[in-house]
Symmetry: C2
Subunit: 176 residues, 2 copies
């Protein structure tokens, strides 16, 4: 199996809801760390990470209540700022890969994360999709919806869902 | 990550329904091959396989309509034969690991495969459970039940379900 093409691991990554810009969510960092420790191990040339960050557009296009958008330029600035946040998030993962010496690619898409992830799996055909999961109970899941469950059902490649460690779960488990 | 303990991959394996004794099912061979090619790759010292074969006891204790069981010895023979079948199945996987140079363990349990697999995950705490799946449609699933879906929901470790390749699916997809 030497010389074979690298195993391409796609990971969906998102921002933390509590740690503030530009931190990665606990569950996406957890999924990445798990893949490094348990799958890649010391075989850094055997794998390539594909980081997908899906940005969710706000319904009304505004995501900051304190700002006033009065001109086309304001909207451009907003889009620019969103894009910058996304790039900073991906930068964290790309930098870590660079330090470790694993190849990677990273990109941003807009839309509903679960739909976009499955669509991108179809398009780029990774060998494996790793998604972090908050490990919510059935009651919380009804309101929050889980990306990982949807992907396990619908993604056209093998999927591993990595639950957050108990000692990393915030007080409100919906936070991440 | 050099020197870390090997990543322990548990795989549930079963007999083929069509290829006859002592062939492994298409989906369990597929799951094993996938794990070798995509996860283990050339890093044979970084992984250890744990093969679990769950034997399903027949409701009435008979699994061969042509045989007559008239004495306690007959039952002993039957149990011995079942055990032998299971050992031959595991032998296939253990031999392949030996050829490749990956460490492994293998054992047999009796019971309902999905329940036993989840119970054994709790007991041996692998890093990862890989299960083969026939990739049945929703209609077939109602009647057949799928071990992989149950394990993805209930096993206390990350689970990858590997669907059979289209070109390996038998005419009746319930066969394996």
């Amino acid at each position: 199996m030497e010389g074979a093409e690298a195993t391409r691991i796609m990971i969906g990554v998102n921002e933390s809801t509590i740690k503030g810009y530009p931190h990665a969510s606990i569950s996406s960092r957890g999924a990445f760390d798990w893949a490094l420790q348990k799958i890649v191990r010391s075989n850094t040339s055997g794998f390539k990470f594909l980081f997908l960050h899906v940005q969710v557009p706000d319904e009304d296009g505004f995501d900051d209540m304190d700002s006033l958008y009065a001109s086309p330029q304001d909207f451009k600035n907003m889009k620019y700022r969103d894009r910058t946040r996304g790039l900073h998030l991906l930068e964290y993962f790309v930098n870590r890969c660079h330090e470790i010496g694993v190849a990677c690619e990273a990109w941003i898409k807009m839309g509903d994360p679960k739909e976009v992830i499955c669509h991108e799996v179809k398009r780029v055909q990774p060998d494996l999709l790793v998604v972090g999961s908050r490990g919510l109970g059935p009651f919380q899941r009804v309101f929050v919806g889980t990306v990982s469950e949807f992907c396990q059902k619908h993604a056209e490649c093998p999927v591993i869902s990595i639950k957050r460690r108990a000692d990393e779960t915030p007080q409100d488990p919906v936070d991440d």
